[in-house]
Homo-oligomer: 255 residues x 2
């Protein structure tokens, strides 16, 4: 396991629990490498140097930040050209390995991982891809051993998948954060908002998001919107976000 | 029940199921008034004329669009000055009734209601307020008969509550809609995104949204962000939304 971040940690543990043997953990930060190796039980080696990577793994799972992945791919592959290399990044094409080895692919588990929060890996959609059918089957089998939802999409599709996930997860969480700040400023506990947040997410299990849309922006109710914009007078950034998202909602609802 | 929209419909049914007697339903659109009255069982009257409102209700629940509420409040109260009037609007102060009657308040169930989607009213937070303690107690009792979560906040606080709900629900749903459109354009089913959406919402039950934030904008990873902006080249609106929300996330995470 080349990497010891949130995704690497959750994936390592899921693989370990499924009976796969993790030989070694790499992280530039030795403490993180040691910590993850320790959590996987006795006998798992760790290193903070790419030169210290073992040569005898069947698969090298590279779970580094995008820039580090691009930068380190050549060194990770060097001298191990017959091994299988996969990365876990949503937005990086599998071709990042091309020219450095002959067998490569992608194993992208799409989820928002935070340290200290347990996740049920079996429900996480995993997106796999490989440069040849045999390795694609191998990565598929590996992914299927930890998740019930394994999909095959191209690097091109995965780029949009990752972008869509930024909207559905990262931007959505920011909406929650704005909401929490606003409530705190007016002495209202954030817990009052949880049922609404839950129902908003639950609704789109069965209703198309476009049809589930409610609120003043759908009918572009300038009266309500102007009053709400006035409440945001001390936050020009939020005013701009409010205005733009409202316009976008209205445009979508009239398409 | 003065109104027959989504909120009025769900609230009427919850009140009916809790054993309260709904005497009459008003809607400007007779068909809607008749439909809701019909769903409440035999004997519930309906009218499409404010002049046809009965005089013998204990409480008049006014669930109209904001503009209609402001416009119609005087006529609804006229000749019934000793009755209790409440509205169900998040962003309208209870003073909308002031001068037209002596007993008034608010009963705001905060949820996103869609026709055809059942909701469990008992988990919906209801925000109540009244112009005197006796009527506040009465509205509290009414709300408690249909919901386990009843809160008392002022009209001023409720304005921010409603604004916060626009972020947490309406804007969040729009993020889902953008995501769904993007996936459809690249032949990926929206169902692949459901586990991520669910986990994003579930996470903030136990983690502060600010701390739950993940994604390229947290570390303002210009490399990933520029690539994703390039994918949005045909949607200047979405590019602008992406840029602004990313900036706002980064600002929040460094505060």
């Amino acid at each position: 396991m080349v990497g010891a971040g949130n995704l690497a940690t959750h994936l390592s543990r899921a693989l370990h629990d499924a009976g796969h043997e993790i030989l070694q953990v790499f992280s530039r930060t030795e403490e993180n490498a040691r910590a993850l190796a320790g959590r996987l039980g006795g006998g798992v080696e760790y290193t903070s140097s790419l030169a210290g990577l073992r040569d005898d793994a069947d698969i090298y799972i590279v779970s580094l930040k995008d820039t580090a992945l691009v930068e380190c791919a050549p060194e990770i592959c060097r001298g191990r050209e017959d091994k299988l290399f996969v990365h876990t990044a949503g937005s990086i094409p599998m071709q990042v390995f091309e020219g450095h080895c002959s067998r490569f692919g992608v194993f992208y588990p799409m989820q928002t991982f935070s340290k200290g929060r347990e996740v049920d890996f079996s429900v996480i959609p995993c997106f796999v891809e490989a440069c040849n059918p045999d390795d694609e089957q191998l990565i598929h089998a590996l992914a299927s051993s930890v998740s019930r939802s394994v999909y095959h999409y191209t690097s091109e599709q995965r780029k949009y998948l990752h972008l869509a996930a930024v909207f559905a997860c990262n931007f959505t969480n920011h909406m929650y954060a704005v909401c929490a700040d606003m409530l705190a400023q007016h002495d209202i506990p954030f817990s009052t908002m949880i049922p609404l947040i839950d129902e908003t997410a639950a609704k789109i299990h069965s209703v198309e998001p476009r049809k589930a849309q409610t609120g003043p922006a759908v009918r572009f109710d300038r009266n309500v919107m102007d009053k709400q914009l006035a409440l945001l007078k001390d936050s020009p950034d939020l005013q701009q976000i409010y205005e733009m998202l409202s316009k976008s909602i209205h445009k979508t609802s009239t398409k």
